[in-house]
């Protein structure tokens, strides 16, 4: 996995607390912080993307706005999901009509 240096200054109390955790759990302090940060970032990112996709699905914001906020790849994927979700119901109704005719 590619890594990048990211430095942050932390309050002394927090560093001391981390020392306690590290000793009690017998884990490397940096590794523990990295794991916790990854969990939090993943959760927060998913939560925010969910909120964004809700606004998009409800027609409150447009694809262009999403693209400007989070990039083209995510905006394109949201558009695909919306188009295919609409198409799924429409095609389902067409297939349902055929099923009715055949039975």
């Amino acid at each position: 996995m590619k890594t990048e240096q990211f430095n942050i200054r932390m309050p002394k109390d927090l560093v001391q607390d981390l020392d306690i955790i590290s000793k009690l759990l017998k884990v490397n302090k940096s590794e523990w912080v990295k794991t916790k940060l990854a969990e939090e970032v993943h959760e927060e990112k998913n939560k925010l993307l969910m909120e964004l996709s809700t606004l998009y699905a409800n027609g409150i914001i447009k694809k262009e706005k999403i693209e400007s906020l989070v990039g083209k790849e995510i905006a394109d994927e949201m558009e695909s999901v919306k188009v295919i979700a609409q198409r799924s119901i429409k095609r389902g109704l067409e297939y349902g009509k055929l099923k009715k005719l055949h039975s």
Partner: protein, 165 residues
């Protein structure tokens, strides 16, 4: 109109259908095709006692009613798993619609194959009078809870489209 009778399903769609108790009905009405890799994924889920483990066990009871195919991967989509690439190639080869709830899969395959989300079956069942609109909407709500869709695009868009009927 072969496309309206035969569907290729992935693990996510089989789980969705069984979680709202319509897989049995769908198997009575249509030919459902899947791959050995999907069956293996379900067998792995079934080893666990959680919600998905229980659903996977129920699906495996229907194994004999599924048409299981193998398919060589000739064309690969980089962003999706091997199992999904197999299903993608099967859909290309058989020229049949593929049903999944994997958004990444849908996004990367939608220009090349007929691909839909599981709520397609709710629309089919409403139109062919096997479900009322209200039953279908209730099942969509259950699906949302079980799949943890919350207010995602699949749920909101499907609900909006079903509400119009």
């Amino acid at each position: 109109m072969e496309n309206s009778k035969n569907y290729i399903l992935d693990t996510s769609s089989l789980i969705s259908l069984e979680s709202i108790n319509i897989l049995d009905q769908i198997l009575n009405l249509f030919t459902i095709i899947t791959t050995n890799s999907v069956i293996k994924e379900l067998e792995n889920f079934a080893k666990y006692d959680g919600r998905y483990g229980r659903i996977a066990k129920s699906i495996l009871k229907f194994k004999k009613r599924l048409r299981i195919e193998t398919c060589e991967i000739i064309e690969t989509i980089n962003y999706i798993e091997q199992t999904d690439n197999e299903l993608y190639n099967l859909s290309l080869k058989m020229k049949l619609p593929l049903i999944t709830d994997e958004t990444k899969f849908v996004h990367h395959a939608r220009e090349k194959i007929d691909i839909y989300f599981t709520p397609i079956f709710l629309a089919i069942l409403i139109e062919s009078k096997y479900l009322t609109k209200n039953d279908a909407l209730n099942k969509l709500e259950r699906l949302r809870d079980i799949r943890n869709w919350r207010s995602n695009i699949i749920y909101l868009t499907s609900k909006k489209e079903l509400d119009k009927l």
